[in-house]
Amino acid sequence: MIHTLRTSFLAATAACALAGGLLASPAFAATELTFQRFFGACDADFGSNTDVSKAVGECGIITSMVNKFNADNPDIHVAVTTVEWPGYDQLTAQFAAGDPPDIVTIHHSALSDYQTKGLLLPLDDLLAANGIKPADFTDASRNGVTKDGKIYGLPIDNWTMLFHINMDLFKQAGLVDASGKPILPKSVDELLAQAKQFKEKTGKPYLIQNLANETALYTRNLYTYLFQQNSDFFADPTKVKINTPEAKKVVEMYKAIFDQGDTTKDLDYAASINAFLAGEGGVHLNGTWMIGDYNASAEKPGTALNKGGYAVYPYPQLFSGKHAQYADGHSLAVSQKDRSEEQTAAIGKFLKFMADHDFDWSRTGHLPAMKAVLDSAAFKALPHRDTVAPIAELGTSLPGAVQRQFAIQDIIGQEMSAAITGQKEVDASLADMESRINELLANL
């Protein structure tokens, strides 16, 4: 009896081992790729969705796109790691440890940090092998990912900051013209006057800003209005000149808005989105990526945005210089490491898939990276694309050679926040801002 048991146990073990061995053998194994991205996690809603057209928002769409790629390509498995935005501290540590993901989301503005260290794979050949030509990209996207004449990331979009508008409150404030369009300011004085009028009529702040321990918003606002004054603050990419009268004008404008109580003050990013969705202010300063979500909310009966409608516009031109606003873009970069031909081919296939689905991604609100999508009727027919279309021309980035743009963003945000909230004098903040950035850039 015992002997029989032992024999059958051994047989079962052998069978398991054999089956395990077969499953693990290369002939059956899918090529594994690791994809590290920000854009948040939303597995509860879209974890198994493969119908990309049903997905909404950055997280929903990218999750569904990867699901669809995995479903369409049983020989490849893309494993996703989601990181807290923007995830560069983690990525840097992964590169330093020699364990970077295969594919990773990197802002155009952060590519040069990694490219200058030789950590990213030039993609020209891989893209060409998959039928993607540099000429297929929009100029802004191609310029954003091209460093030293080579392409270091598949551009998936260009984005910028926008005026997301609650039309119900704008009507109450008398800031809507005869054609039903919101009246936006054309100068700093008009901005302050309209903000004042808005508050008097609605009792709510004109701007919803996420100012609590925030740095990105401050920085993008400053860059935008420096561009509009033709201030070439990064004429030398290794030395900033930002302690200028132009910068002072911008900081004083935001300080006046803050001091008059025409902005929300203590909200963090998530709270600012909730505040706008709840109708607690007129204009939310946020990026292209919110258009899809806000539009979805506006279509839902009973919401604050459904009441009077939702509109979205580029930042108003407040100064007499060049018509411009700060823009950046997202790209998919590939880490430099030893790979088999299958793995490299699989990466190429994935990038091709993402490029082919650029229209789906542009439903988030971002400007597409592919020229054909930008020019397509389908894209132009998406909600609000008529009012935000000018950003394709307005979008301006920092010079590509400026390194550590996220660390610079932290410094600008901290100093601007200190000046605007009254922790520090404006002049002292600008002086510290300039010296801190230059100290950083002098020690690369």
């Binding site: 560069y88 840097t92 590169f95 321990n213 203590d266 901290q414 926040s417 100290e439 950083l440 020690n443």
Partner: protein, 310 residues
Amino acid sequence: MADAALSSPANRAAPAKARVQNVQAPLWRNALFVLPFLVVFVALLVVPLVWGIWLSLHKADAFSSGRFVGFANYVRLYNDKIFWQAIGNTFYFVLLTVPALAVIGLMLALALNSRTRTAAVLRTVFFASSVLSVTIVTLIWRIVFVPGFGLLATVYGWFGAAPPAFLSDPDLVMIAIAIATIWWCIGLPMMLFLSALQQIPGDIYEAAALDNANRWRTFRYITLPSIKRTFVLVVVIQIVLQFQLFGQAKLMTNGGPNNVSKPMVLYIYEAAFTKWDLGLGAAASEVLFVLILIAAMVQFLVSRRKGESA
């Protein structure tokens, strides 16, 4: 010669005597017993410490060990206002948390030092927060503090008031981080005090009761002196721990607004990983190491001298 003759019997007896002594004497092979610990200690503490000192003398980033720059990184730290601010923030945080942890921990221990079921349940409850990770702790406290939708905002809302901006007011952020930290860390001091209280012999209290000593005198002259060593232990452990504040500040305020809640470890993290300035980060770590060492030693020496003079 005579000496030699006299000593010779002793010499002859020496081997036997030595063999007997060797049973008690230190043996090099006994080091084998501590070797497993020593290997880990050297590999994970001593080597990184030396490596850190070496790095701090170099202009290095995460991808290259760079070139030797002598004390340049320390000079940059000395000239960096934010670094001084971070040191100040760290001391302020230690001052906010350590006395509170020691006093509240002792009070909880005194209150819960009984054999009732309620006390046992409450001990578990107060210790429970210690098992949570820093991510969960900060998430909980963010939900409490977040303006507009947080617990505090809701409660204030009932009275038509706006809550204090605990996560963005420069005067309040450190206090908010301290509150979250005390809530998180209170379990260990309480347990240490409890174990100390339970070692005080009951007959001393009986004697005090017979002498009609009131509760304050009993506490002042019996309990406190008996747990003095534990008190020092708690304070030293907490100083060392709270000097290393990082996760709560990173996750609740990210060091803001404008660096008023940036502790030294967050400064080190940002130097090394956001600015990629590993040498500067290493230099700041060495400064932190020395500060923790000094603070713990001062505390230890002061309390020992007090103890001896008492």
